[in-house]
Amino acid sequence: QDKEPIKFGLLQDFTAVYTFVTGEYNQGQQDYLTLVNEEGGIDGHMFEAIVRDTGNEPQRGIEAYNRAREEGAILFDFLSTPVSRGLVDQVMKDEVVLITPLHGRGDAAAGETFPFVFPVMATYWSQAAVLADHIKSTGGLEGKKVALVHIDSPFGREPMPVLEGIAEAENFEVRGFPYPSPGNEQSATWSEVRRYRPDVVFIWGAGGGQSVSVQQAIRNGIDPASIHSVVWMAETDARNVGADAMTGVKRFEAVATGTETPIVSRIVEKVVEPGKSAGDAANVGSSYYNIGVATMAVAVEAARLALESEGAPLDGPKLKAGFEMIENFDAEGMMPPITITPEDHQGGGYGRVAQWNGSAWEPVSDWTTAYPEIVQEEIEMNAAEYAGGN
């Protein structure tokens, strides 16, 4: 059987800003595709990953994208906000699928404005909403003081409008505390945070800056249990801070961690153990690895649906249609059940909160979505700005 392979362009930043995640994330993606191939592909179609480093540079992204497209790739994942943002227009013109899980433009959730772009997982807005909701249900939000300590970049500031919206609804106070990029030094910011005496702290950064944030919070006498992190907080950060010291810190979680879920245990058995993993076996099951697996699980599911309803050979528009047919897909329990529609490319904005227990991330809430109206308003506002030319 010689059915033509389905190609995905995983053109990511392995060497610059996203090094903290790309290695594990991309390994998870490749391993999952290997697993699918080992299991016979989808309807006999094999998956092929075109992996290139872009160094977070738009120009290298453009070249890698054009080349991969010529090689026949119909889905792209850049795992780099600048590259994704720079290529959104091109992707839509070329009618191929761009997935932007946990990066890129949040407003791409608006499927009608961004027909070929799929955030697939909870945007930063939804993440903030889920975290806020968790705080509300555990200790209440009313009258609390919330500090958003964030890297001083568009990404760091992104949750602010949503938090302000929720603050209005729930009657609490929120204030932003920016620290300069790359975040390896934040002491002045945290002195200010301590003076503010927050009840709840959100930390919104990535990479080394995250562990510095946690350390600084603890050094300033902030209870680890009141620290809530964006999705970028993993085992490595816990080891940096000190596994014990970090106990109690919470994070948003888009995908379950560990090797227990069926998919990951099959990867271990059929990919890792035979030595076919794309990287270090020790990474398997880590937070970022599993996120990578989940993104590909969604993509492969979309391809399966597209093949089923539209038939081979697949192309961009067919794959897009496949994505929009995804309904209640949870990757065999790895992730919240998502439903993608032509209007909602985020899949509902589901996630949960997990807490570091000294050795692992332990879920402390169910998969949920929160404040959909507030998030939706933000999405629409930004999407309208984009449609208007921005």
Partner: protein, 292 residues
């Protein structure tokens, strides 16, 4: 008031941490006349080395000692393989060489040892040191002490005969040869010492932020320190470090809330610009003797 003092104290400590990274730069400049843009990469490399040695099971202190020895050797090697062939070339070429080296190391080290951040635990602990309501960062406190010690040691070193010889070499290579100084050995030595200083910076910063390539970006605050203090002055590292740290802590401490963005880099940039406008050679830097 306590807030102000806290900003001041922590700023000073941060400044000393930067000074630690800046020290290597000044050591090389002072004794070889080379602005070493790869100093940040050396700091990163040192941190990776110590992490790697630790992950082999060596106790941290031994790992640091071995790391220092290796970095010293690496400094000698850099001179032997690269700088020796650049003698007599214009400075901009040498600068470019160090830039090439920075790119090379930025690829090589994370490429070989892994790009994801590595933990480096010095056992410093996270509990704050609280003196009269002022919270001090314990890691920075120790880093500041180490910085002061290393700076003092370097100052003493340059008072010795060997130190004088290194300064002579940075002044004029050909004249140094003519009186029998081995320029090669002097430059190698200065790179070696800068390698050791990089271990200090790499280990302390690595323990705070984790070990990954971003350690090499310490070059920029380090350069701000150096410009303010004077590129060839060890005293300048100390004073420049304190000034950059304190100004970069106190001013944003009040300004950030008003502006709604983080102003530290702006403050640092303005410090650099003002220094250059008002006193181009920094506080203690030597002026070029130019006779017309």
């Amino acid at each position: 008031m306590a807030y102000f003092i806290e900003l001041l104290v922590n700023g000073a400590l941060v400044g000393l941490m930067y000074a630690l990274a800046a020290l290597g730069f000044v050591l090389i400049y002072k004794s070889a006349g080379v602005p070493n843009l790869a100093q940040g990469a050396l700091v990163m490399m040192a941190a990776y080395l110590v992490w790697y040695l630790g992950s082999l099971g060596l106790p941290i202190w031994i790992a640091i000692a071995v790391g220092a020895a290796l970095m010293f050797g690496f400094g000698l090697l850099v001179e032997r393989l690269l700088l020796r062939r650049m003698v007599g070339q214009p400075v901009i070429m040498v600068v470019m060489l160090t830039l090439g080296m920075e790119i090379l190391l930025r690829g090589l080290i994370p490429g070989v040892f892994g790009a994801a951040p590595k933990p480096l635990d010095l056992g410093i602990g996270l509990a704050p040191v609280i003196v009269a309501d002022v919270f001090m960062n314990r890691a920075y406190l120790i880093g500041g002490l180490v910085a002061v010690l290393l700076i003092a040691a370097s100052m003493l070193f340059f008072r010795t005969r060997l130190g004088t010889k290194l300064r002579a070499v940075s002044d004029d290579h050909v004249a140094s040869w003519a009186v029998g100084l081995s320029v090669e050995r002097a430059i190698g030595l200065s790179w070696g010492i800068a390698g050791i200083a990089a271990v200090g910076a790499g280990v302390l910063w690595g323990s705070v932020q984790g070990v990954d390539w971003t350690l090499s970006t310490l070059l920029f605050p380090a350069i701000a320190v150096v410009i303010l203090g004077g590129v060839d002055s060890i005293k300048g590292v100390l004073v420049g470090g304190l000034a950059v740290g304190i100004l970069g802590s106190v001013i944003p401490g009040y300004l950030d809330a008003m502006v709604g963005g983080s102003t530290r880099d702006v403050v640092t940039s303005v410090i650099i610009l003002l220094t250059i406008l008002v006193r181009p050679h920094g506080i203690f830097g030597r002026e070029d003797i130019e006779r017309i």
